[in-house]
């Protein structure tokens, strides 16, 4: 009898604690990759995002009292495993998965329909399907901050600036060396369109996955003698490209990398060959931003950080993950403000939150992230929200930001986005939303 009573009390206590904890939690899956050739990107980005959530939990007790929780799942940068992780994580937590960061263009593609059907927003920050920026056709997909196409136009703009005006690009030779995958092929239509507009010669050279053999590609580049080379690589392909360029005598200062080719992990293995190499970025590296100091103070000082190797703190991938954390938690805040402060929100409410996200300069200052990321204003029409890109240069020891935030060619990008989205809508029989009716 006595034991029964004790057991009952215990059960009740456990049950009670369980429900209390469950009610005030916001679950965010951390489906990234910690093993394999792309592990630096996955663990860095994932680490930054988790570090930011951990800091919010430690400093503010979550968002309006709602603790952020997460669970890691290994996707191996593999579509099938990514889908498995998504299915595993989508029902966890009191309200299911809030939002998914797939961190892989391939997985993003695989999730577009599944997540839309499940009403779980997908944030593909700086990767994924560019035309998802048209929120009328892709209500649940958010290629936030900036897309591949915006980036491609900014790259051409940068080259124009260096040449002394966009009209000076006429007759220039530009080569794009790309990872032969959906990711690598994404910018080619935009670069081709711009080549017609500005009159430069574009040569596209594919590098088969994983890209650890590029001798013939760079010999071809040596024959072409281009004015600029755009490097659209990923993982081991990047340092290999820089080394191969040095071998054929092509200067690193004439190579512009995409933001997935512009992390410390991409240049350090190339050694001296990487010095002077330029890359684009939508986040700046560094540990001096106030928000990074907060993470240092509330997380790392208590030995709770994600990185065992402290030198990765403030690296490109790490701050990119922090930016992802900021975007996610700010959207949760927006959604809570509408659907009930201090309560966990559902994926559907989160979708509204992201769509109405507005991180202006003032808010950036409050967050301590001025210069770390550009201001963002998302809308039903525009799921990109910013489009701004910065350039940075590797000086042999660290990345130095060399430009301010640069504007993309919005008109060109938007026209192509709408064209591609309309084709998708037609193929799938989707009627685009009427944005004037959204509230």
């Amino acid at each position: 009898m006595k034991y029964k009573a004790i057991a009952a009390t215990l059960l009740a206590a456990v049950g009670f604690a369980g429900t209390v904890a469950a009610q005030n939690e916001q679950f965010i899956p951390a489906n990234f990759y910690w093993v394999g050739p792309y592990a630096p990107g996955g663990s860095g980005f994932g680490g930054g995002m988790i570090d930011y959530y951990a800091m919010l939990n430690e400093r503010d007790g979550g968002i309006n009292g709602v603790k952020l929780t997460w669970e890691k799942c290994e996707t191996e940068y593999n579509n099938a495993r990514g889908v498995e992780c998504y299915e595993r994580s989508k029902k966890k937590g009191p309200t299911g998965a809030t939002v998914i960061h797939p961190l892989s263009t391939g997985i993003t593609y695989s999730l577009i329909e599944k997540a839309t059907a499940d009403k779980i927003p997908v944030i593909s920050m700086g990767y994924g399907r560019t035309s998802a920026a048209d929120g009328r056709v892709f209500p649940y997909i958010f290629p936030l901050i900036t897309t591949y196409w915006s980036q491609a136009t900014v790259m051409v703009k940068y080259m124009g600036e260096k040449a002394g005006g966009m009209d000076k690009l006429k007759g220039k030779k530009i080569v794009i060396v790309y990872h032969d995958s959906a990711y690598g092929k994404e910018p080619i239509p935009v670069l081709t369109d711009m080549s017609k507009q500005y009159g430069y010669d574009l040569t596209t050279i594919a590098v088969p996955h994983p890209g650890n053999e590029q001798q013939s590609q760079w010999l071809q580049i040596r024959q072409i003698k281009p004015d600029w080379v755009i490097l659209w690589g990923w993982g081991v392909m990047n340092p290999t490209a820089l080394k191969a360029a040095a071998k054929v005598g092509y200067p690193a200062t004439k190579i512009i990398g995409v933001w997935w080719s512009g992390a410390e992990e991409d240049v350090i293995p190339a050694g001296a060959a990487a010095k002077g190499y330029i890359s684009a970025g939508f986040n700046a590296p560094g540990s001096d931003f106030p928000v990074m100091k907060e993470i240092q103070k509330f997380v790392y000082a208590k030995n709770k950080g994600e990185f065992e190797d402290k030198s990765r703190f403030g690296s490109i991938y790490h701050t990119r993950g922090v930016v992802a954390g900021i975007v996610t938690s700010e959207a949760i805040r927006v959604a809570q403000a509408r659907f009930g402060k201090g309560k966990p929100i559902t994926g559907e409410q989160m979708r509204w939150g992201i769509e109405n996200l507005n991180i202006d300069d003032k808010r950036l200052k409050e967050l301590g992230a001025v210069g770390l990321m550009p201001p963002i204003k998302v809308s039903c029409l525009d799921h990109e929200g910013s489009g701004l890109v910065k350039f940075q240069q590797w000086d042999g020891a660290k990345w130095k930001v060399i430009t301010g935030w640069m504007e993309p060619d919005r008109k060109l990008v938007r026209a192509k986005v709408e064209e591609d989205a309309a084709q998708y809508a037609k193929e799938k029989g989707i009627t685009p939303r009427d944005c004037s009716r959204e509230k």
Binding site: E76, N79, E87, G106, Y183, Y424
Partner: protein
């Protein structure tokens, strides 16, 4: 005691020739099918159905295709993923370009296109064998992916080369739920597995095995080499093509050519090596081992870490998973080189004698 054929008399030829001659086997298969068709869709949750069982069935079908070629006809191939890619992209194109195309029709078109390519790349098998043939099929793997990447027609000129599978409609009914997709996959796999099982008992199957065991002897006793080998390539590629189409339509939904890399070809090859070369059951066991086991290891290590109350870094868990998996593959290959199917066979023999082994 329970599993014994004594007392089961065959009184005519058709009884003697049935697929499962032992009554207990028939009952077991019947129960398995009832469970698979009725119980699993009711009991299984979304995660199990769409993330574990459906991909397992699809890859089992691909492994079955490779097993017909490698296990039964003795022709080593590394082009499985390429045939799957052809199936996926051609089924997509069939749905896209032919109005009112039923989905099963698209799967068959995907399979037939894969079979046609399989025959072309099977031609070298008439002159070369073993590892050299594997290299020739490797060319197929690279060529097909290259062609799909380069020729815009395959992906309907999508700038990124990605295809999005169309809605599955069967008799005006939209198959969107995981259970619906699972049942569709299961039906296709069961029918094709049954066909394969029967094929292997037929004259064609026996010709395949004769070629596998010694092709000179086979040609001496009058088995046409060219027809048999090319037929093996065609049937095998057809199976792989249908598996690829289902991989796109029933599982991933949106597919880029990179989903069908050499890596996948190797995985399917490992499936039949682990499961059992030259065995229908082995294809299923191998697929289960290769696709499901890493996920169980991954989750299992999480549970163990939780139960023990220790916090293990996620990177270590992920790496451990790969190491344990690799070690287990080596263990199985040493303990039972003929694969898991052989283990099952031994169990069956032991069961027949149980409880009085002599």
């Amino acid at each position: 005691m329970l599993y014994r054929e004594s007392g089961q008399f065959k009184s005519n030829y058709s009884e003697d020739q049935q697929i499962f001659p032992i009554r207990q086997d028939r009952i077991a298969i019947g129960v398995l099918l009832v469970v698979a068709f009725l119980v699993v869709p009711l009991v299984g949750n979304q995660y199990w159905l769409s993330a574990l069982i459906t991909p397992f069935l699809i890859l089992a079908l691909a492994a079955l295709g490779l097993n017909i070629l490698t296990g039964y006809a003795g022709q080593l191939s590394l082009g499985t993923a390429a045939f799957m890619a052809i199936g996926a992209f051609m089924a997509y194109n069939a749905e896209l370009r032919i109005p009112h195309m039923p989905i099963i029709g698209s799967f068959i078109i995907g399979g037939l296109c894969a079979a046609a390519v399989g025959v072309v790349f099977g031609l070298p098998s008439l002159r070369i064998k073993g590892f050299y043939l594997a290299v020739a099929t490797l060319a197929c793997q690279f060529f097909v992916l290259w062609a799909i990447n380069r020729v815009g027609w395959f992906s309907n000129n999508s700038s990124s080369g990605v295809i999005t599978a169309q809605k599955i409609v069967i008799f005006g009914y939209d198959v969107v739920t995981p259970a619906g997709k699972y049942l569709l996959t299961l039906s296709v796999v069961v029918v094709m597995a049954l066909l394969a099982k029967n094929l292997m008992r037929s004259e064609t199957g026996r010709a395949f095995m004769a070629v596998r065991d010694m092709d000179v002897a086979a040609s001496v006793i009058g088995i046409p080499m060219m027809k048999t080998k090319l037929l093996a390539f065609a049937i095998s590629s057809f199976y792989c093509g249908v598996a690829g189409a289902m991989y796109a339509f029933c599982y991933l939904g949106t597919v880029e050519p990179e989903a069908f890399t050499l890596d996948l070809s190797f995985r399917v090859l490992f499936m039949i090596i682990i499961g059992g070369v030259g065995s229908i059951l082995g294809s299923f066991l191998g697929a289960a081992f290769i696709t499901l086991f890493p996920i169980f290891l991954n989750r299992g290590s999480e549970w163990i870490a939780e139960a023990m109350g220790v916090e293990i870094s996620h990177a270590i868990v992920s790496n451990l998973e790969i190491m344990i998996f690799g070690a287990l593959i080596i263990f199985f290959l040493i303990a039972e080189p003929a694969g898991l199917a052989r283990l099952w066979q031994i169990t069956k023999e032991k069961l027949r004698l149980w409880p009085f082994p002599h």
